[in-house]
Symmetry: C2
Subunit: 356 residues, 2 copies
């Protein structure tokens, strides 16, 4: 993997770009005007590993709530700004760690200049956040909703910021189409050193939202493009954080939590792999250390997978063969699946605590 | 996207390779010795768009059940063979449309020769199916469980087949690690023209299984590698078929069913996008025609997304603005979310039936 070397931007102490680890972020979907509900959700996001949180700032009441939210948040807060330079200035006054500006609806030179100067005075970075759903009409007329149009939209805003001597910049180029998202980021990464914030926008919920996000973000990260990730899923944003780590773990870019390797089951399966997997997912979400656990229905691939995992269980007609670091330990009875699952959980927890 | 031109293999009338559409396949997890249960599951898979089905053949009783399964299946059946050349010959006698052989456990020259001759006499193709969990010990000793080792395992088996003049071959290289899966397929595609069957093995269930499969398979397809897809997920194989189509649709390689574009919701959201999306997913799984539906919480990206979708709904404080082919039609009340969802479903169904 050839990593693209980007500049480093500091967001309230969290470094994005260069050779820093890929930062995981999300966005609240509470009403920002309700600081308590918003802080509650931020805390849940942080419990699951979220490192930066963005909040919508649709009006002045929301902007006024920012101070309380920032005071109550354990991680830096980013303000999401559309249309209004005044809301951007209010957010800066409240102490946000980054601004996201949409170059599709904050386009006037004097507006961008005002925001850049205020952000510069406070050393606050700006993300130029292009979204295919809100491109400026001029761009649509010239390019359509294409990768070239998205890059042109970012470039125009970047030039306005650079003209003010401002280059504390992060960029995102998000389309609801995976191919356009990937292409626009490739074009941009080829031309600029600014760190890239990755995401497929409006990916939707459920299975297809996960699939679109994983392919889009995964393809770019696999090419060495990207410095921070925000997965956009319809639903509880905690899922966005988990999915971001799933993507980073799948590519060996960051390790976080249990990596369950488990077979699809077939006519050979001897143990209830699906129930065991569900049990571990449900009961071990608190684990943030990295560990690989194999749950395999039979010995065909089971011995190999268990042998190359930290903890492994392989189905046989006599029960599950338990392996730890590739060594056979004992055979676990599979008559009671709950008991079996608890025994596996215990083995995993013992493994995680082995150094203590 | 540069498409890799591969040779074409005919699996019971389904063509894999060349410029044929990527074929979607899955595998039953019923007991193959129970033909009724297996045929029931095959029919469910086919209802969801599955084009080829593989069944495990762990013993002679399973091999004897194949004839009945093949007679009852609306799509060609593939036999999954490990260890035993005799089971491969029994499967050929029963009339399977393809054999999958594991080169990690069917390695002897005279065994491969016997199978190749019998398959050749019936014009039945063979998939050389390498799996990182069941590599031959000789390969592991020389290469470890690496991409190079997986390719070497495939090459050894291919040479044995080619020595018999047999080249009706499909190849798969599956690791439980995404990076190794992708790398081994890249190496292979660079050296051979045989069609590739893609999959990430033992991906697990739930979110992380989807993510691993989507990144691995999606990255390869994005590079023009791959001719047929089998997603391996712990659980109901119907999910594997849906996920395969989600991947192909995300990359614009095959269109199938409703593509829901929907925002992650935030402090600006005016309508219950998540419930609407769930309703459409639950109630419109029967749709196989291709249609893009946008469900957007507010106007920021909503107007743009609705404008470039077949049917779109954009939240405002007065209800949902309904767009059809980019044109505003009416405003739908959002007081009763069930009623609102039904109205959107009706618009989508009307759109799909517009030509009739």
């Amino acid at each position: 993997m050839s990593m693209k070397e980007t500049s480093v931007v500091d967001v309230g102490g969290v470094k994005i770009g260069g050779d820093n680890p890929i930062v995981v972020q999300s966005m609240t979907n509470t009403d920002t005007r309700d600081p308590e509900a918003t802080i509650d959700q931020i805390n849940r996001l942080v419990d699951h590993g979220c490192e930066l949180v963005r909040v919508a700032v649709p009006d002045e009441e929301a902007a006024r709530a920012l101070k309380k939210i920032i005071a109550g948040s354990p991680v830096p807060i980013i303000a999401d700004i559309h249309y209004s330079p005044d809301l951007a200035l209010m957010a800066l006054d409240a102490g946000v760690a980054k601004l996201r500006l949409n170059p599709g609806n904050i386009t006037l030179e004097r507006e961008v200049r005002r925001i850049a100067n205020a952000a510069s005075a406070r050393s606050i970075p700006i993300r130029v956040g292009v979204n295919s759903g809100s491109l400026d009409q001029e761009i649509i007329d010239e390019y359509g909703r294409t990768a070239a149009g998205m890059v042109a939209s970012a470039e125009r805003e970047i030039r306005l910021l650079e003209d003010q001597g401002f280059n504390d910049i992060i960029v995102s180029l998000k389309s609801s189409e995976v191919n356009i998202t990937v292409d626009s980021n490739r074009i941009f990464a080829d031309r600029y050193d600014y760190p890239l914030h990755l995401g497929v926008t409006e990916a939707g919920g459920g299975r297809s939202g996960l699939v679109k996000s994983a392919i889009g973000i995964g393809t770019m990260l696999g090419e060495g493009i990207g410095d921070t990730v925000r997965v956009s899923l319809t639903g509880d944003p905690v899922e966005e954080v988990g999915t971001a780590y799933d993507i980073l773990r799948a590519l060996d870019l960051r390790n976080h939590g249990i990596d369950i390797v488990s077979c699809p089951t077939c006519g050979r399966t001897e143990i209830d792999v699906q129930s065991l997997g569900k049990y571990l997912e449900m009961n071990m979400g608190d684990v943030t250390d990295s560990i690989r656990v194999a749950l395999m229905g039979c010995s065909v691939n089971g011995i190999g997978e268990a042998g190359s995992s930290n903890v492994g269980v392989v189905g046989t007609e006599n029960g599950g063969l338990l392996y730890v670091d590739g060594k056979y330990m004992e055979t676990i009875e599979d008559d009671d699946i709950e008991l079996m699952a608890e025994q596996i959980e215990e083995s995993v927890r013992n493994y995680l605590n082995r150094g203590e």
